[in-house]
């Protein structure tokens, strides 16, 4: 179910109304679980079985840790929980890739093997699996410290109930933000209509829907041409503009989704972590990864990079850890090697950046240098998105060759104008943040209502054709 569909708005309206009815207050969490199940199962009801299985695995293993007295038993439960989580992800998401990578031919596999290898990817599995791992690991860490765990229910069934809610809560179920157990579980409590932060929810929702429906959905119809054989006949300038447009689109799509998720959660009294912080003003790649898909990068840091040793075990080990995290982070995005290459490219650049800047402190520099660095980081990030858009390496090479050879082809001005028109709001969104952070006493805050009104107007009259969120496929 898409956040932009009429069916979703009806589900949201009904859930919201029931949720705040005083005589149903005891059932608030139950209402949200049911709504989340309807949301998740609307397209393929059988997917619900996988979600419930995943919830059960995490509830049992984390409760096992909670109830165990010895460290060995706690460790055993933790290893079991993480392994089953990864096993589910590996099976549903990567079995086909692994099979084909060792030379297997799906057309030759029949019966149960063929069935298992061709099961469609359960939507959102990458996200809810990572949330499940965070629950198991967080519980283990707290328990190891020997302190009472503030977010843990006393009985198994209550814990299972909370775990199901934590993993299935519909605003973040399909594409994040990846919420960690210690961020979400302590928030579970009765919520009051009178405490609703309308202003915050309104800002998140309007900006999110605007980015998704007006920017990403319209740019999608332009970047459609980044596909074989269409890009072959486009000029170098158009191909560069398309890449730029895709960079804007993927930001608007994912940041838009995340903002909608934050706004929806606010409507039910829950606060989800910020997922994007104006990534295209980053002056370095390390800064980029503190601004882009923050919930994933912090998850990878907390649950993979630091456990691997982080940067505490010498330069060689640090670089190895960096590559490993970025390689796996890339592969997390999709079951194709191009995603792993995309992650590795980022890993290489991060390593190079670390090497160059390892002993230098960030010095205050001229605005022109800042601008150049922003442009440099943005250009490389944008080039790397090609691996996202074109999962076949041959097509990526073909696109780059076309960029090199098609300089003399006629330029489609209309395409340039459309990409520019739909990219301007994303650029202004970033520029406004830069301006606002440098001018704390900004005077035009009082005119914000005009921008929100204009965004609402454009959502109503200028939305593009509804399309899946790009990150749904991950």
């Amino acid at each position: 179910m898409l956040f932009t569909s009429l069916a979703f708005l009806m589900l949201l309206g009904a859930t919201f109304a029931l949720y705040y009815l005083p005589f149903l207050a005891r059932f608030q969490v139950f209402i949200l679980i049911v709504a989340s199940f309807v949301f998740y199962a609307s397209a393929k009801p059988w997917l619900l079985a996988i979600l419930v299985l995943s919830c059960a695995v995490n509830a049992v293993s984390s409760f096992g840790i909670f109830r165990s007295e010895s460290l060995a038993a706690q460790r055993g439960w933790a290893v079991l929980g993480v392994s089953v989580n990864l096993g589910l992800l590996l099976f549903f998401k990567y079995s086909r890739l692994l099979f084909e990578s060792v030379g297997g031919d799906l057309r030759q596999v029949h019966g149960i093997g063929g069935f298992l290898l061709t099961i469609p990817l359960p939507i959102g599995i990458s996200f809810f699996t990572f949330q499940g791992i965070s629950l198991v690991v967080d519980t283990f860490r707290w328990k190891k410290k020997g302190e009472p765990i503030p977010f843990f229910a006393r009985t198994f069934w209550h814990h299972f109930y909370n775990t199901t809610f934590f993993k299935a809560f519909f605003p973040q179920l399909i594409a994040g933000p990846i919420v960690k157990a210690h961020q979400f579980l302590p928030q579970i409590a009765r919520k009051y209509f009178s405490q609703l932060r309308w202003d915050t929810a309104f800002r998140f929702l309007v900006t999110g829907y605007f980015l998704k429906m007006v920017i990403a959905d319209n740019l999608k119809d332009q970047t459609f041409w980044i596909a074989q054989p269409y890009f072959l006949s486009l000029s170098t300038l158009n191909l560069a503009a398309l890449l730029f447009g895709y960079s804007m689109q993927i930001f608007a799509d994912f940041a838009g989704y995340s903002l909608i998720a934050l706004g929806l959660a606010e409507l039910f009294g829950y606060r989800l972590p910020q997922n994007f912080r104006f990534p295209y003003i980053s002056r370095s790649f390390s800064e980029f990864w503190t601004r882009w898909h923050i919930s994933l990068s912090t998850w990878l840091r907390e649950y993979l990079y630091i456990p691997l040793g982080g940067n505490r075990s010498g330069a060689g080990r640090t670089y190895f850890n960096l590559f490993t995290v970025m390689f796996l982070g890339g592969l997390w995005h999709g079951a194709a090697w191009s995603y792993a290459v995309w992650g590795t490219v980022h890993g290489v650049i991060l390593a190079a950046e670390r090497l160059v800047h390892s002993d230098k402190r960030e010095a205050a520099s001229h605005w022109a240098e800042h601008a150049l660095r922003i442009a440099f980081v943005f250009s490389l990030v944008t080039m790397a998105w090609l691996l996202f858009k074109l999962p076949h390496f041959g097509d990526v090479v073909g696109y780059l060759k076309a960029m090199a050879h098609n300089a003399r082809l006629p330029i489609s001005k209309v395409m340039l104008i459309l990409i520019a028109l739909y990219s301007i709001p994303v650029l202004l969104y970033h520029a406004h943040h830069l301006y606002a952070s440098n001018n704390p006493n900004r005077g035009f805050l009082k005119w914000h209502f005009f921008f929100y009104g204009a965004m609402l107007f454009l959502i109503a009259v200028s939305s593009g054709g509804s399309g899946d969120f790009i990150y749904f496929q991950f």
Binding site: P22, W198, S233, H448, Y452, G453, L456, S462
Partner: protein
Amino acid sequence: MTSSTSNSERSLIALSLTVFLALFVGYNVAVKIAKPEGLFLQNQAEKNISTAEDYIFEKKAADTVIVGSSLAARLDESYFGKGFRNLSFAGGTAATGLEIIRRHGTVPKVVLVETNLIRDLDTAFVEAQYQPLSLFLKRYLPSAQAKYRPVNLLLGGLRSKTGTESVVPDANVFANLLANQQSDYSRLPDQDWLRHSTGVLAREVDSLMARGVKVIFFVMPINAILEDSPKARNQLEEYQRVFPPSRYLWIDSLPGEYITADGIHLVPQSARTYAGLLRKRLESGPL
């Protein structure tokens, strides 16, 4: 339920909604009064929606309606003059256009069916156009129609100043595109699916013929290499099996010098030439 929303929160939301309402009402009234023509459409999907909307909101169907895929969509209505409507859809097929004709209150006298490509009837697209709420909004609010989106008004104005863009293909690029098409046209479609799709088409055609519509089949010119390919021959044979020329009206190929942009889509000059010949053939008497 009570709310302790602060005044500043209330004012942000209320003021934003006021701005929205002012812009929305003002825009719709302006478009209703100005009724701008010759608007720009941003992409294929939008063009398809706008083509369908224009047909659905027409009180009386045009005398002659063309249905088909992106190949026939190249035949701009202006090439024919009055009385023609082109209900062809890029990425679609004749069956989709026929279904929209069937649902309209009135029927045209003649329907021209392009037979180059066979695809499934796009029921999702048709249902989306006839969705009651959307239909209601589009009827009374111009901004709900694809062609009246603000960017289309803006670019429509710009295009009238800059003219249309050149689409004559570069030789190397054309060779690449043709090679891609050759690869596609060398493979036969699944025959069960093909028979199913032409079966759907036959029901659409028969239902219109039963209402007195004259249905005429034609083949858009494509590159000679592709014309003689397994896929093109197979699809035409299937069409002629379901709609045999002995029982259905067919227009023979209209010889001419045609240039395509990619092997199958005519460039505008050739599309104009072909449209002229097609019109002459229709006017020249019985088929």
